[in-house]
């Protein structure tokens, strides 16, 4: 049913899988995610759809190996099947012509950013992408992001590639040189928090795509709940994208460590 057709290593710990999923490929839009499960004892984990090909009936998932489930997924090979795959889930990204859009992504957060940059680009926006990672080896999808970006700024913590510095340094440089109409940020919660604090300072509207703990992904449990503007929201059905300036990132960071 959900057979793996292609597998590529994007870096030491990051794997890209092309999976047979015709219905999801047809229905999905930028910003949507899936829940998948590997093995009879597997847990349900959320992953954003990085690419989809409706004609071929496939979706592409990019997975960083961080724990038990991602290890199981990364160990799968071409021809293997996912035990369960359901989607597309969540609300699609709100796409319109904003003007200049900065896509600020860190590490494996580039994968969910890819379809958003593509859609923003197609809607006529000027897309400036800031790609950030700890070091050169962890920069992924640079070629693909360049396809949909008017400019790509690469930042590494150790300066091993592009400029030395954090994602916020790259974003701030853009904001200081030109008017930015929207910033979209996806990456580790701490990174999104600091991007949000920065853009708030400059009054740049900012959307963050949140990656919380999930179980069902359909709104029936509330494991993914967060506070947005003082209200409790479920990331799986109300999100995953929210006004970053309204998100309580400290609470989200704390909740993301619940089972560590």
């Amino acid at each position: 049913m959900n057979k793996i057709l292609k597998k590529d290593a994007l870096s030491e710990n990051i794997v890209q899988l092309e999976v047979e999923a015709p219905l999801i490929a047809k229905a999905r839009k930028a910003g949507h995610f899936v829940i998948l499960r590997v093995g009879a004892q597997g847990e349900r984990i959320p992953l954003t759809i990085a690419k989809a090909d409706a004609q071929r009936g496939t979706i592409t998932l990019i997975i960083q190996q961080v724990g038990v489930s991602t290890r199981h997924i990364c160990a799968l090979n071409v021809g293997d099947e996912l035990t369960d795959l359901v989607g597309p889930l969540g609300k699609a990204t709100h796409i319109e012509k904003f003007g200049t859009v900065v896509c600020a992504c860190g590490g494996v957060g580039t994968a969910p950013m890819l379809p958003i940059a593509e859609a923003m680009h197609k809607a006529g926006n000027k897309v400036v992408t800031v790609l950030a990672a700890r070091n050169k080896d962890l920069i992924i999808l640079e070629r693909e992001m360049r396809q949909f970006s008017d400019e790509v700024i690469v930042m590494t913590d150790d300066g091993s590639y592009g400029q030395k510095g954090l994602v916020t340094n790259g974003v701030e440089a853009v904001i200081q040189r030109e008017k930015v109409d929207l910033c979209v940020t996806i990456g580790p919660p701490v990174m999104m928090k600091f991007v949000s604090l920065l853009t708030q300072k400059y009054n740049v509207p900012t959307v963050a795509s949140l990656n919380t703990i999930m179980v069902d992904g359909t709104g029936m449990c509330g494991a993914c709940r967060i506070s947005v503007g003082g209200q409790t929201k479920f990331v799986c059905v109300d999100g995953p994208e929210f006004d970053a300036h309204q998100v309580d990132f400290d609470e989200m960071i704390s909740r993301s460590k619940a089972y560590n």
């Binding site: 219905l23 999801i24 229905a27 499960r37 093995g39 004892q41 597997g42 847990e43 349900r44 038990v68 489930s69 199981h72 035990t83 369960d84 795959l85 359901v86 989607g87 597309p88 889930l89 179980v215 069902d216 359909t218 709104g219 029936m220 449990c221 509330g222 494991a223 709940r225 967060i226 506070s227 409790t232 059905v237 609470e251 704390s254 909740r255 460590k257 619940a258 089972y259």
Partner: protein, 524 residues
Amino acid sequence: MANTENITSLRSEAWREELRKSMKAKERTDIPRVKMPELAPDVRSRNFEEVNCGLTVEQALQESKRCLDCPDAPCMAGCPVEIDIPTFIKNIERGNLPEAAKTLKATSALPAVCGRVCPQEKQCESQCTFLKLKKEAVAIGYLERFAADADRHCGLDPQSPEKEPNVGLQSDVEQGIAGQARNDNQVEIAVVGSGPAGLSFAGDMAKLGYAVTVFEALHEIGGVLKYGIPEFRLPNAVVDVEIENLRQLGVVFQTNCIIGKTLSQSDLDEMGFKGIFVGSGAGLPNFMHIPGENLNGVLSSNEYLTRVNLMEARKAEADTPVWLGKRVAVIGGGNTAMDSVRVARRLGAEQAMIVYRRSEEEMPARIEEVKHAKEEGVIFLNLYNPVEYIGDDTGKVKAMVLQKMELGEPDASGRRSPVPIEGATETIEVDEVIVSVGVSPNPLIPSEFQGLEVSRKGTIIVNQDTLQTDLKTVYAGGDIVRGGATVILAMGDGRKAAAAMHKQLQTSYQLPVTNNCKLITGNW
């Protein structure tokens, strides 16, 4: 609604009259109500084995003798699917278990489930004549479970319908359809959700000759029967047998498919579905929106039970984790709260507490579950309501602040409403809180289906008699129409909708198996 003529004629059959005469009413009423054998509390509170062991044959025979076979059968009025209760019980008394099971299955798609989880004391057993005689009601639920279980264990369930020796009204139908490949003449019907409402609807429609496909969002079939109600109350194996029966009737199940997301309303139309039944339930957990509710260690009962039941987080080999709190508070007084608190106990909680804002009398949970919870050492904090949770410096819950309550005047629903006693609060240490204060309708279908009329509470509005929505081909039932209710009411809705949809479709399509319609005519 019930086919009274048929029931009266069954009652006047010779064997039954003879059975009635075989014992004096006084002798029958003098028999004490049976006690269900159960696992000892100290054993069962450490495992997930089913607590109720089921009646022995002797017990079931004895209990069946208590039933007076009343001419007006008031018990039936208390059953949402109007099971012919005296007929199935008298069949037990005469030792004909296949007939007893057949009687159950004529109106109930999941008797082994309902015998276990129905709140009988509020339904069938609440109408039993014995209560008027100041005696305990006949144990209808226990007997239903006994007949359904015996049927399953003896292989008499139509799992392999061709082997079924007792071919009656229903079995004719089952035999005709079971195992048949779908043919082009069959009218395609879609069911959204595989909980009790959807399963009961699917069973009836398949028996009527429709090609039924059930779409389920999760990776397992059964809805709340799988993710919600724990193994110690309803073993998954029992549910799986009932689902297998539906497969044998030709029902196709499609898991991991979310109607409104994976497939849209227009996709279903294009695929040729002529009728849609929405049984998507009330899966959205309510929270109280009090300070600290998003601390780690505070979770909804849906999340907790899904992790433990569906994802089997209690087992070491499962990848899904779950909190193993030592001092666990469950907020609420319904069945879900009882399930959660008893799960917490089984996962090693030293103190498992129910916090409920009313008194025990007002608790909506089944009396038996409350009793079992108490025997298992659950602590009841009645007339308390949480107002705040306090966390430690890592963001983990460490205490709850409880407001002491008293009962005031009865509210619109007739229940006395809880009123805070000013200044009376208590702080109690906890390391896990499970919020079980009700559920709301799943918003997916109402928001994705254009033109559905929805109430302020988010339930789908239907014609009360036919369960048809204002979209002509779409019917709905169960919790998506009622809000959080019971398994048996959901099943009753499934049956009602099937009968009504069949009536509507019959006029539009040449149905290939019209002879099977006798199953429903007369019953509805």
